[in-house]
Symmetry: C2
Subunit: 528 residues, 2 copies
């Protein structure tokens, strides 16, 4: 079997903020060769070997569930199996992934009541009315009836683009949020926002010379998808000193670098509020971005899944790009935009549901047809995910029986998240050599680590990136699993990690004390 020669594009795609990728590549090459030797000697040889599979798949990296997460799973296993263990903690706390209900966040009761009723329609029969009314509020019963009337059965394939009735409700929600019209035919319900992002990027990417502008740091879905579809990331750096703000000059210079490499730069990804960085864009900044895309003939992808995770609502409210564009007048009336939203985030946190949507603004009808055709190949998004989208965009209204309890649950989660974000950033800022911006939005903090030279050397000796080395040590010492900054990209020579602030408040104090202890010991061990 011949070794494939990788084109230079491979290096370009993977050398985001670190040269470690190249080392990894060399390591993989050696492994490939040994696999290849093995194939030649053993009999019968495997047909599918690491060497012989899709190189684009191999290039994909996804740190959120990478080495740290795998190590965390191992420790969990050890903790569950062994009576006596060697850890200073009794449980692993997964701060590596925005998964609120895994960390005991209670689901919104009304939403689950409706889901429960739609699963078992016999509950809606007149003969069960009395018992069911003792367990479910009447507005949940009415909502389930309405949904089943529109849907038929949650066990049937729906329209591939999503149930029309629900897309209609999404359009109304967008209209109310933005004050501008929305068309249900431009809305696609999806299995979470990620599936939508992948569908749109798959469509836009035509060849390996296509460039997609992405923020650094970024959510690794983007680099993973670009690697898979063989396109080139064109990174622009967020400004850590300015609360991870977006400087327009960065966009311009990033684009110019991309174009000077001969890339066909077709789209710009904005994650607002930011992941992993938690910033929230001002309206002024958004107008600049729109103007930039307009002048440069670039499509905008707006990842707005954290639109309700806003912790400084007066200074930094959320604005959707759709609204900002519509408010900018006639010159921008054909501006092409894809906006993504999800039921996994906000106060809902229904990640396991896999529900979301994207809205196409000013996208050509033939492109919509192609997106619809591709959605058809996967048949339809799961119907309970679609129902959760309906509940997100049409929660109980004032006067509804469940309104008060819904608002109470929502506010409690919101206030608690805000408190936790403050508490955790204070904790990080108290660590020697660590600085951390407050979260304006989203579910994450992205503190910067200044590591002693000896720690960096020890990391290199262990074959790890320095932030990865620190995070692995943190996991072993505290049970807290975070994601190294290198998984998201960061300025050369800087080191970070991403942590959610989702652990329950009663755990956070203990977490901070353990972290302080670990950090001091780590610095002591590796002091220069």
């Amino acid at each position: 079997m011949m070794r494939k020669t990788y084109k230079p594009a491979f290096f370009l795609a993977c050398r985001l903020g670190s040269t470690i990728y190249q080392q990894t590549y060399l390591k993989i090459s050696k492994l490939n060769m040994s696999v290849s030797n093995h194939v030649q000697s053993a009999s019968p040889a495997k047909i599918l070997t690491y060497e012989s599979i899709n190189p684009h798949v191999k290039r994909v990296e996804y740190a959120v569930r990478g080495e740290l997460a795998i190590r965390a799973e191992q420790i969990k296993d050890e903790l569950s199996k062994e009576n006596s263990h060697n850890y200073d903690f009794d449980a692993v706390v997964n701060c590596n992934i925005g998964n609120p209900q895994q960390l005991k966040q209670k689901p919104i009761t009304f939403f689950r009541q409706v889901a429960s009723l739609t699963e078992y329609p016999d509950l809606l029969l007149p003969e069960n009315r009395e018992q069911v009314e003792a367990l479910y509020p009447t507005d949940a019963i009415e909502r389930a009836q309405k949904l089943l009337k529109e849907i038929g059965s949650v066990g049937a394939y729906s329209h591939s683009q999503g149930i029309h009735y629900i897309r209609n409700n999404v359009a109304k929600f967008i209209e109310e949020r933005d004050g501008y019209p929305a068309n249900p035919n431009d809305i696609f319900l999806t299995q979470g926002a990620s599936a939508g992002v992948q569908a749109v990027l798959q469509l836009i990417i035509t060849h390996s010379n296509v460039g997609i502008m992405i923020p650094i740091p970024q959510y690794p879905l983007y680099t993973a998808t670009l690697a898979l579809y063989d396109a080139q990331p064109v990174p622009y750096y967020l400004n850590e000193e300015e609360d991870w703000g977006l400087d327009l000059s960065q966009l311009a210079s990033s684009l110019s670098v991309g174009r000077s490499k001969g890339l066909d730069v077709r789209a710009l990804v904005i994650i607002n509020p930011g992941n992993p960085t938690g910033q929230c864009l001002t309206e002024h900044n958004m107008r600049e971005i729109v103007d930039f895309c307009h002048n440069e003939h670039i499509v905008l992808l707006a990842d707005e899944v954290y639109q309700t995770n806003i912790y400084q609502p007066d200074e930094r409210p959320f604005h959707s790009f759709k609204k900002v564009i519509r408010s900018m007048g006639k010159k921008y009336e054909r501006f092409e935009l894809f906006s993504f939203h999800s039921v996994s985030k906000g106060m809902i946190g229904e990640c396991g549901r896999r529900g979301g949507y994207y809205e196409c603004t000013n996208i050509d009808s033939r492109i919509i047809e192609e997106l619809y055709k591709m959605a058809s190949v996967s048949l339809c998004p799961n119907v309970q995910g679609q129902i959760m989208v309906d509940l997100m965009v049409q929660p109980p209204k004032r006067g509804d029986k469940s309104y008060t309890s819904y608002q109470k649950e929502l506010n409690e989660i919101y206030e608690s998240l805000r408190r936790r974000s403050m508490k955790l950033s204070e904790c990080f800022n108290q660590l020697e050599g660590v600085t951390c911006n407050n979260a304006q939005g989203s579910m994450y903090l992205f503190p910067q680590l200044r590591l002693p030279q000896k720690a960096i050397e020890a990391a290199h000796q262990a074959g790890k990136k320095p932030d990865e080395f620190y995070c692995l040590a943190m996991l072993d010492a505290t049970g807290v699993c975070v994601v190294p900054g290198s998984g998201f990209g960061q300025k050369n020579g800087t080191w970070h990690f991403r942590s959610t602030f989702l652990p329950p408040e009663e755990l956070l104090d203990g977490f901070c004390i353990k972290l302080q202890k670990f950090h001091n010991e780590f610095l002591e061990k590796y002091c220069d």
Copy 2:
């Protein structure tokens, strides 16, 4: 903007059993040119035009939800809106897609009871016990408790490969079915079988010269996925005269044609029981196929989603490829196989759920790691889909409270499906010029149409394939929506359509009468 030149591979991929593809291509080229002109004249120009998007996406065809299905939706809309309409029917019957619950098949009660309870865990609190026991059987309550204990919340992301507890149960199910061990680490839970097929093909396809052997007729997921990932279908024809049987000589000649074109033929897809053709392979035939793959160094993909839709259980029982391979002894102990299953089919029919799994047999551990990494990028399959997989592989057992009612529901659906398959194939066989094999398995019949020359000419004049022309006329006359054979591939010069036999029995007689009338009128209109 420059027009892209398509490589010859495009034609190879799309010219399956018909030259119409080429006509379509020419039509598209013309449209592209007009779009291109438009781009040059209008201002501001669209960035995303049909011309400028991924050509592989454009190549994808998916007939199950193609023109016929879109026309059916339009008619549905008209029927719902207009008081007086011009149709001889009051409802559209969707026989184009295997979607049992859309056609009023009742879900399995026990499965839905468990799903309902897991959605709303407050129902499991002691204070609600009495009311809940009045509505749910105790074994459903116990199962929901067990699942929630293992899962936590259905709203949390699970392990990307699927919940370990459920994969363990899938492994036990496979062991009991086959009598050979299965490993939960080799099992991936998926959003329906389609997602699994796509994940595996994405991995196997390394370049545009990879060939994948697929049956003709085939389920169009396969050609769609090959077009998208830019690989070449290597078609082998099923033998209509022998109940759509698989001749080994066909495999050999198909492979040799593929290889003579310079293709790197890496995998063989078998759909068993067949879709759209309904055949069920004999164990002898399966051994021949395994031997063929072994000798030719080809990976086997076994699409076994219809494994319980077996209507001649004595003559044609279902055997899994996993079992057959294991029974063939040491020579085949490293045979590489992927097997796919789903909750959408069988007697369960929970299509809207998007649940399924695939099992990797003898797949290299590094390949499994790559599949796991790719699953991580999509985070996890939806949890209710995973729960339905658990229920499918662990239904109520003898002695359980719900066992009798579960068995009764299952048998009623099964017997009714079998009766309907017979009734519909009789109906088709009574039509002049139509012949139809009985279904040994699956949910479909694939009758052959012998059309008068005048009908073929009329179709060509209308820019339609003859079977498409016939099916559109059938839809307009009867309200029954089927899929033209050209969407699945068929021998040159033959014409078919695929129809599910899922309409309720009380509708089927009326359907047959309307069809007979339409068919006679069609033949009369176009008699030679």
